[in-house]
């Protein structure tokens, strides 16, 4: 599997890109030429220069530094969302698929209800209810997405639970939790990886959309969606402001999509169309 991964150029390149972006985000304090919060109000909307590589925004803050710092909430929150989603989804899916019976019934009914709501609306509803704040955005995203994972993982578990190695494990007296964690989870992990890398792109777009609408990451924290929100206010006078954050989002999300597709090719070459 690893060999296949290393051989796949797309997978390698996108992974390198993503890791690189993550590192830039982590080392933003070293790499950024300016303090992303420092305003220089008399120098607002300045163009590209050595001290401000991408110019300044409406408060005279360095756009380039804000872009670098913006990686942190953008990638970090998306990763956190996915962790939460997969965690909750896996737990529910495993419980439902493994124990069947009434547990399965209850969980799957809840999943059905969750899936019957348009996810976008649910995100807004949850944010509206809990208040506008970053934690709530993550909670909202986990809340609307876990059901997909629960259903997928349940199907996966059903596929594997009667395989010989699981039956054997049970025969030799391993505990149920051990079987769940050691045998079933790894078996469906690869499918999950594909879905997760595709969905992390979704999470990035979703979180940035909320920030763009003013419901997510709040000022003055530099986040790409929030920066685009500020750019919108000066669309007629300073349109350049909206380029950098938008392009950055497209590049990172594309990278995750490509990675997801490549992973799927590696795992299952048959399904490789589009």
């Amino acid at each position: 599997m690893l060999k296949k991964f290393l051989k796949n150029k797309v997978a390698m390149l996108t992974t390198i890109l993503i890791v690189f972006v993550a590192f830039v985000g982590i080392f933003a304090p070293i790499l950024a030429p300016n303090d992303p919060y420092k305003t220089d109000i008399l120098n607002k909307f300045s163009t590209f220069s050595l001290s401000y590589p991408l110019g300044t925004d409406h408060l005279g803050r360095c756009v380039f530094s804000r872009m670098l710092y913006g990686i942190r909430p953008t990638l970090g929150l998306a990763a956190l969302t996915m962790l939460g989603t997969i965690g909750l989804g896996a737990l529910m899916g495993l419980l439902a698929g493994y124990f069947r019976g009434w547990i399965d019934e209850i969980i799957m009914r809840v999943v059905d209800v969750m899936l019957s709501f348009p996810s976008q609306i649910m995100v807004f509803a949850v944010v509206a209810l809990l208040g506008i704040n970053v934690q709530n955005v993550i909670l909202a995203n986990v809340f609307v997405k876990w059901a997909w994972y629960a259903r997928m993982i349940r199907t996966g578990v059903l596929k594997y639970r009667d395989r010989n190695f699981v039956l054997f494990s049970r025969c030799i007296g391993n505990r149920e939790s051990f079987i769940l964690g050691r045998h079933l989870l790894p078996s469906i992990a690869s499918e999950m990886a594909v879905l997760a890398s595709l969905d992390i792109g979704w999470a990035i777009i979703n979180i940035s959309t909320l920030s763009f609408l003013g419901l997510g990451v709040q000022a003055p924290i530099p986040e790409w969606g929030a920066m685009l929100n500020e750019a919108k206010n000066v669309l007629t006078t300073n349109p350049v402001q909206m380029l950098a954050p938008g392009i950055a989002i497209v590049v990172v999300v594309s990278a995750f999509h490509l990675l997801g597709d490549a992973l799927r090719d590696i795992l299952d070459p048959k399904e490789a169309n589009l």
Binding site: T209, L213, G225, K232, P239, G246, I249, H257
Partner: protein
């Protein structure tokens, strides 16, 4: 057949109840006290504990939870969603009715765009698989799935309206105002459906009946249009139909970018103003729409496809 339809409709009722219950719980979880809000709405200068208790009894807030739910549900069925917290002179139902046409118009136009663009493009992509056209389209599709809708909206607004001065930037009024937002909404769906149609047609091409038609020596054109396209359309139209509520809810972001006076703008403003009755009614409305459209197209699909029909009868 009739039995099946009835069964499906009956099955949807618990789901609708579930959705309404979630919405009801939602309004009851919020921090502000409805009794206090009611007093504020009536412009009572000084709010006392006694006054709150009185209103509480008047509004039936002291009754058990389930009783209140049933009462609320009955009100909802009569389209009475209460009054807006921030604008007490307006009813929530009135606000929804005011904003719904604009949203439906936007969603409807987007739907037309989706069909008009994705059908032919998907068709040609499948017919000329791996040609430059197919590759280019797939490239564009790939890009658009990675672009946030609001950013596309901003770019279009800047390029088409400000630079080229072709269309109005935002707001609503003439059909010209509609083009940019509708296109932005439809973009995500267009790429999904091009993909769907293309793959569906490619799969159909491998079917036996195509081989048979080829053997019979029918012209390629007839095979493509009469058989393959028609068969692929089934799936696609049902899929598109089912995504209508998705489209309606998808307008929420784009409406805000283009200042389109529809439900989405109403919803976001209400979130900022903590106008909970409006948010609740909006979520309820979209939830119900979602279930109804799913049901409708599910039944239509079964009607149209004999294989599925035989299964259920």
């Amino acid at each position: 057949m009739k039995n099946y339809v009835i069964k499906r409709i009956l099955a949807a009722i618990p789901l609708l109840l579930c959705i309404s219950f979630v919405c009801f719980v939602f309004i009851n979880l919020i921090p502000s006290d409805p009794a206090e809000v009611a007093l504020r709405v009536r412009q009572v200068p000084v709010i006392t504990e006694a006054a709150i208790a009185e209103v509480r009894a008047e509004l039936g807030l002291d009754k058990p939870y389930l009783v209140r739910y049933v009462n609320w549900l009955i009100d909802c069925l009569q389209l009475d969603f209460g009054v807006s917290y921030t604008n007490p002179s307006r009813t929530v139902a009135g606000e929804l009715v005011r904003c719904l046409p604009a949203t439906l118009m936007l969603a409807g136009t987007s739907l037309v765009m989706v069909i008009l663009l994705s059908l032919p493009i998907g068709f040609f992509c499948a017919v000329y698989k791996d040609s430059w056209f197919d590759r280019l389209t797939r490239g564009i599709i790939f890009m658009t799935t990675a672009m946030p809708a609001y950013w596309v909206g901003l770019l279009l607004m800047w390029f088409v309206s400000i630079q080229l001065d072709l269309l109005p930037t935002s707001g609503n009024g003439t059909w010209k105002h509609l083009i940019l937002p509708a296109f932005t909404v439809s973009l995500t769906y267009i790429s999904t459906y091009i993909r769907l149609i293309r793959n569906n047609m490619l799969e159909n091409m491998k079917e036996d009946y195509v081989l048979y038609a080829n053997v019979r020596g029918l012209p390629q054109k007839t095979i493509l249009t009469k058989h393959i396209l028609k068969n692929s359309m089934h799936t696609c139209i049902v899929a598109i139909g089912m995504s209508i509520p998705q489209l309606i809810s998808g307008t929420i972001v784009v409406e805000n970018v283009f200042a389109w006076p529809g439900l989405g703008t109403l919803c976001i403003t209400s979130i900022f103003n903590r106008d909970y009755p409006v948010i609740q009614a909006y979520v309820l409305l979209i939830g119900v729409l979602f279930v109804v459209f799913n049901l409708l197209f599910d039944i239509l699909q079964t009607l149209a496809d004999p294989r599925l029909r035989n299964e259920v009868v």
